[in-house]
Point group: C2
Chain length 132, copies 2
DNA sequence: GTAAATGCAAATTGTTTGCTTACTG
DNA sequence: CAGTAAGCAAACAATTTGCATTTAC
């Protein structure tokens, strides 16, 4: 249960977070890996996964574990919703209206910790016969 | 795009659906496999996966692709929400209040097809120092 | 008889882990 | 210099797929 252990400020960790924060595209671990590798050619995919995990534990990024899809990562830690394109897999922020519903404290005997809402549909690029 | 091809009523498909409908526990493919194997000892896991997929396409079951967890299956096709225990992974129906929010038609340029809401927390069996 | 479905095994995909070496604090 | 983290490869878990054979219609 030791969540708070001492972290080291390694170049790998720094570059991973910087790259992620420079994106609004919610990359997968693999996408981030190939981006980061341009700055740190010797970094390994395992290191990317390990750092994404600790950065998530430390609240510096959000893990988007979306239904039936590869995990994506978001450097914007402000609470907000997401919408995913079921055609191409792209994920975009939903900053507009629709506040996330406040879950009740207890449900079916469960102690409720939270709830996750995600939208899905077809993104502008994948909408057929629609010019944009 | 040929969604509707002719289906055969195989014993495997029949038993898989019957077993699923007899449960409220939202089993994983592997769990269902070992159940079904008691009736059809020669069935393979691949067959279970293939049939779960066609039954899902035909709207006879719901695929619960929950965040960061193994896919589970629900024979109850009535729209309802779910809550997942982050300790043991159990999934239960939430039949009470909290109607699923009606999503807007369009969001961030996306053509919205729907939204998924899931609760998470700790189930009665995993709640420490609580007698039940 | 023909196409759909099965069983089996191998392949894929996404992610995690073990281990030795490197480097931060 | 203590112990965290890196790199690399192998392990893993869930799911999918190829293929030869069987079976429902």
């Amino acid at each position: 249960m030791d969540t708070t252990r001492q972290r080291r400020n390694t170049p790998q960790r720094r570059v991973i977070l910087e790259e992620l924060q420079g994106l609004t595209s919610h990359p997968t671990a693999a996408e981030l890996f190939s981006l980061v590798r341009q700055k740190l050619p010797r970094i390994s995919l395992g290191t990317v996964y390990r750092n994404l995990e600790v950065l998530h534990q430390d609240g510096q990024l959000i893990k988007l574990e979306l239904a039936g899809a590869e995990t994506r990562f978001d450097g914007n830690t402000t609470p907000h919703l997401h919408i995913r394109c079921t055609a191409c897999g792209a994920v975009r922020d939903v900053m507009s209206a629709t506040p996330p519903p406040e879950p009740p404290i207890e449900l079916e005997g469960f102690e409720v910790h939270g709830c996750r809402t995600e939208f899905f549909g077809i993104c502008p690029d994948c909408r057929p016969s629609v010019r944009h």
